[in-house]
């Protein structure tokens, strides 16, 4: 089971309608993720990292156009039927979104939302059993007093708790791949560490593969096994996390590392990255 390739992306391009024109956002991206491994997709805004993640989940709407291949296990995601996708999403691949508030139904108890996912994917069809499993899941994501929290609405919980609930929903059906889209951006730095620890724990326990989209170099270094650095729709560098970040070979990666503010750099002299220039150089 370990070292089995869970996700294989080959030459993926994604084009989206922007206003009245079409723009290619992802320009030929390839990578693989193995079971039990965390791949960090590192890039700044506009790099195409979120669109890449959404392309894997096929959540970009009907006007998105793709070429290449996205293979989840033995299923080709690009061009799969809506029915197939519905079965896969949530059960074989799950998403932990950036802002849990938008992902949770404000009018439903959080426990009920977890139970609903379990029932929809036939993991647990019995209502009572599903409700109990929901409470267990809330426990497993470190929520104290889970029975009471299960009966709460999302707005009654803190940001960190909501993210834990979103993670609980994500792992409820034991997916082989968990996609976390900047899961800690909306959180305070102390809560961030807890959430990242949680994801690590779950990974250990269930052997799920994790694709984490992030713009934070520190998070990538700390928590990733492998890394793919994205700029302007392309992957500029891949490899083992420590390798790539300690010895960056691509100018963009090196520039990104130098731009981190830290002591020792005199004020006013933070090295600046020219992303478009780097992308243009890349293309030439």
């Amino acid at each position: 089971m370990r070292n089995e390739v869970v996700l294989s992306v080959t030459d993926l391009t994604t084009s989206l309608a922007v206003g009245s024109a079409t723009r290619q956002i992802v320009k030929g991206v390839s990578f693989q993720i193995k079971a039990g491994e965390t791949l960090m997709l590192l890039g700044e805004s506009g790099s195409g990292k979120t669109v890449t993640a959404m392309s894997i989940l096929q959540l970009l709407g009907s006007r998105a156009q793709f070429t290449g291949s996205v293979q989840l296990g033995d299923t080709e995601m690009l061009g799969a039927s809506d029915r197939t996708l519905q079965q896969i999403r949530g059960s074989r691949v799950a998403l932990v979104p950036q802002d849990p508030t938008g992902a949770l139904d404000p009018l439903m108890h959080v426990g009920a939302q977890i139970a609903e996912v379990l029932r929809v994917h036939r993991v647990e069809r019995d209502r009572r059993k599903a409700a109990r499993r929901a409470i267990e899941l809330l426990d497993s994501v470190g929520i104290p007093d889970s029975a009471r929290v299960a009966r709460r609405y999302p707005h009654e919980l803190s940001g960190g708790m909501r993210q834990r609930v979103a993670i609980a929903i994500g792992v409820s059906c034991s997916p082989s791949l968990l996609i976390a889209d900047e899961p800690t951006s909306a959180l305070d730095v102390t809560v961030q560490a807890q959430i990242l620890n949680l994801i690590d724990e779950l990974k250990e326990r269930t052997g799920t593969a994790v694709l984490m989209v992030t713009h934070d170099v520190g998070v990538a270094y700390d928590r990733g096994d492998a890394i793919a650095v994205m700029n302007a729709g392309q992957i500029v560098e891949t490899g083992a996390v420590r390798e790539v970040l300690e010895n960056p070979k691509h100018p963009y990666t090196a520039a990104l590392l130098r731009a981190q503010p830290r002591p020792g750099v005199p004020r006013g002299h933070l090295p600046v990255i020219d992303r478009t220039a780097l992308a243009a150089k890349e293309a030439s």
Partner: protein, 284 residues
């Protein structure tokens, strides 16, 4: 910025104002305007030869026939177009101005001012608009000015409500806070910062409101209020010719259809404007 992106001219969709749903009503309204400006040239709506009475459609010299007093129907319809357009546009223009001022004052002002304005408007809202228009027009006597005044009063509360809602929506936004922090006076903030943002919604609403005002105006004259016979006005004509409904149906159908078409055209134009104005502006 889009240096590396591909733009496909084939996938460019038509600008909202060029689609049939906008072109047709705009053309109709333009035609109405032309007709109403040119109506004096077509003839005298009050002049008729009794010997010529009740000529059918397509009669020589009378494209749309004549009425019970031998007056040319086309000439009367054209004259009526002018009055209906005025009854549509003028009250809405007045209501737009007054309503926006009141709405903004309520939205940006002190809680007391807000209550005073909104509750006063509520009193007007408590009455069905048509009834209110009838009551006001009846007490003002006959004539176009009475129609315009009645409709203006009736239309102020709904416009004020739209203005107030929009103003409240933007009131807490960052740029409004920044405007207050800049030390500018409240009127300056209202006119220069708030108004450009609420104007699109008000314009769209008022465009459709013109359609409604046309119907109300015709309705008032149908009931014998406001504009009275022998003036050629669509509502008057429907009322006058209703007794001839079985012998000369076209006399009733034509002005009624004119009211319908004019009103719907403004509604549809309002819809297209909504699309255009939304597409153009907002940063997010």
């Amino acid at each position: 910025m889009i240096a590396n992106g591909t733009q496909s001219a084939l996938s460019r969709s038509t600008h909202p104002l060029l689609r049939p749903a906008a072109i047709v009503p705009a053309a109709i309204i333009a035609a109405l305007i032309v007709v109403s400006v040119a109506s004096p040239l077509l003839g005298n709506p009050l002049a008729g030869d009794p010997a010529d009475r009740l000529q059918g459609l397509g009669s020589p010299g009378h494209l749309l026939g004549t009425d019970g007093q031998g007056r040319d129907v086309l000439v009367r319809l054209a004259a009526g177009a002018r009055l209906s357009l005025l009854a549509g546009v003028i009250p809405v223009a007045i209501a737009a101005f007054l309503g926006t001022v009141l709405g903004m004052a309520a939205g940006l002002g002190t809680p007391i001012l807000h209550q005073v304005i909104m509750r006063t408007l509520d009193v007007f809202y408590a009455f069905p608009a048509v009834l209110l228009a009838i009551a006001i027009a009846a007490s003002l006597g006959s004539g176009m000015s009475s129609t315009v005044l009645a409709l203006s009063i009736v239309l102020v509360p709904p416009v004020a409500r739209v203005a107030e809602t929009e103003t409240r929506r933007i009131r807490g936004l960052d740029y409004m806070q920044a405007a207050r922090a800049s030390g500018a006076g409240p009127i300056s903030i209202a006119v220069r910062q708030a108004l450009p943002n609420i104007a699109p919604a008000i314009v769209v609403y008022c465009t459709a409101l013109i359609g409604l005002s046309i119907v109300y105006g015709a309705g008032l004259s149908f009931l014998g209020l406001g504009i009275a016979p022998p003036t050629a006005e669509w509502g008057v004509m429907v009322s006058e010719y209703s007794s001839l409904m079985y012998s000369a149906p076209w006399l009733v159908v034509l002005p009624a259809t004119a009211i319908l078409v004019a009103s719907i055209s403004f509604n549809l134009l309002g819809d297209s404007l909504r699309t255009v104005l939304d597409v153009k502006g907002d940063a997010l």
